[in-house]
Symmetry: C2
Subunit: 325 residues, 2 copies
């Protein structure tokens, strides 16, 4: 007689950038100990929002050109296709919580600016001055440089935290960002836009993007990748194909490569990642282990190496943002 | 010897709702007389924005639940993939003009709320009190009814004007709306969201949507239709397939049919339209003639009849919105 020991339905989660490591480690454990998928995703995103060290998300985020921290966040449930998002909100401590709350509404579930702040206030969400002294000093210095706004890349202090999770057959994703550094007030990138910055459908898969939002949205990258997975393309190839195809299109049209990176998961929990950068760190937790990976792409054929960076690689890697984020 | 008389490259344009008829008639003539595609699209959208009779777009638009008219608009160029959009802006006379202006920017090309208004003011765009006495009176009456916000359909005074145009091999589209009647302040539907409310790519086609934005965005309908056209599916079938598939999915998830309609054009200038309503009026101009059509769908198999309504049909049609819009 065989004794079948049922493994607890541990979840699998994938997230963007090294900054998400701590939160994803904790979130993976939460799933194992019985927390729901939304709880795990919210925990991992909030962990980045609350950490002032990370200057591209939440508290301590880099301000717009008027010196105000404006935040975007979105949440999507892959079982119900429920979507909630807030855009360009000020002084909301955890924008991802408001986005998640909004996702339960059938109407007025995507709110921008002061209307979104009004909603958050009426629903009792925490408010806070999100501009830290350190981000303000960096802003004052940046302001003197008189850079060309039209040429800013994503890596002058802009990385979105994106988290995709799966628990049982339930998939969902959450994203949060303070947007492009020194942006115009009210500027929105791809992050809070469904299909561009994120998409989740438990019957196919989920994807999310980080990088120059104005470029990512032109190709609705997250929806495109999810649909490619739905067609039966393996998740890693789906990421590579969609990103390379879009990059080539943008190059043909004369756009520079300001940096775009994507993560994705199919409905079986297989993961993928791709980037137009030389190296893109992302994190995977299977509930037992949580590890940082590097995706490094061949810009000719779009194929990627995915590897766990050893200490030598990290030492030799000269890119500041690898360490910062 | 054959004498070949070259026909001037007259454009073709398609737009949503009867309210777009006058503007599209004029825009078609503009294209013939040498105006550019953006000029023609802006003219047709502005014609609806400026007409206070149309309570779902621009001047005289129905207000949000606080009595404020908040407007969304977007413009996309199919040659360059340039995108500009404004969301939840107040008192801007022609939001489509600001969206078009923003589309020329490589960064900060999508702006929301007060940030977008600041941009419009600094760029010299006209401001105006967009709330008419008639819309305000309607608001005061509606406010007493205490309707369930979560069940509002698109046809309690919400239709987006969407215009897709092609001139030579150049495609583009523009959309404008005052959004869902009695919406929460700051609420955004599908209209200003790339891929959901609109998409244009001259190398494939273009599509745009009108109806309950919260439902349309869950399927990124405009991008989905454009990609279906790119795969080689005929434009009418692309509209029907994508809309039916999405409606079925929403029904399975327990969503009601709040109303969704789409228009599309392929890169050869062939047009299509589909709806989940009993009848959906749209307009086509080939520069010589401009006609109102009705799309009427079979809710079982998704196939549509497209016909020119005669006076008898219009008399027998009891739906108010057919006449209003």
């Amino acid at each position: 007689m065989n004794i079948v020991i049922e493994r607890p339905p541990r979840g699998i989660m994938i997230s963007t950038w090294r900054m998400s490591y701590q939160g994803l480690t904790e979130a993976g454990k939460l799933l194992v100990s019985g927390s729901t998928l939304p709880e795990a995703i919210l925990h991992s995103v909030k962990s980045v929002e609350d950490n002032e060290k990370y200057v591209s998300v939440g508290y301590g985020g880099l301000p717009n050109r008027e010196g105000e921290v404006e935040l975007d966040a979105a949440y999507m449930d892959g079982n119900t296709l429920e979507v909630g998002a807030v855009m360009a909100v000020k002084q909301i401590k955890n924008p991802i919580e408001v986005a998640y709350d909004l996702s339960h509404k059938k109407r007025s579930s995507v709110l921008v600016g002061t209307g979104a702040e009004m909603y958050a206030r009426q629903r009792g969400f925490a408010f806070k001055n999100m501009l830290t002294e350190s981000s303000f000093q960096r802003y004052l210095k940046e302001r003197t440089l008189d850079k060309d706004e039209e040429k800013r890349t994503a890596y002058e202090g802009h990385d979105t935290v994106c988290v995709i999770g799966r628990s049982g057959e339930h998939m969902a994703c959450g994203v949060s960002t303070s947007g492009l550094y020194m942006k115009h007030p009210g500027r929105i990138g791809d992050s809070p836009l469904i299909g561009s910055g994120f998409y989740a459908d438990s019957s196919a898969g989920a994807a999310a993007a980080t990088g120059v939002g104005e470029d990512i949205m032109k190709g609705c990258l997250s929806f495109a990748i999810t649909e490619k997975i739905r067609e039966g393309v393996a998740v890693q190839e789906a990421c590579e194909q969609c990103l390379l195809q879009h990059l080539r299109r943008l190059e043909t049209l004369g756009y520079g490569n300001g940096g775009m990176s994507v993560i994705a998961m199919d409905k079986e929990g297989n993961t993928g990642a791709a980037t137009t950068l030389s190296a893109f760190p992302f994190v995977i937790s299977d509930g037992k282990e949580c590890k940082i990976y590097i995706a490094s792409g061949n810009q000719e054929n779009g194929e990627h190496k995915i590897f766990i960076p050893d200490s030598q690689w990290l030492e030799e890697c000269s890119a500041d943002w690898i360490f910062m984020n």
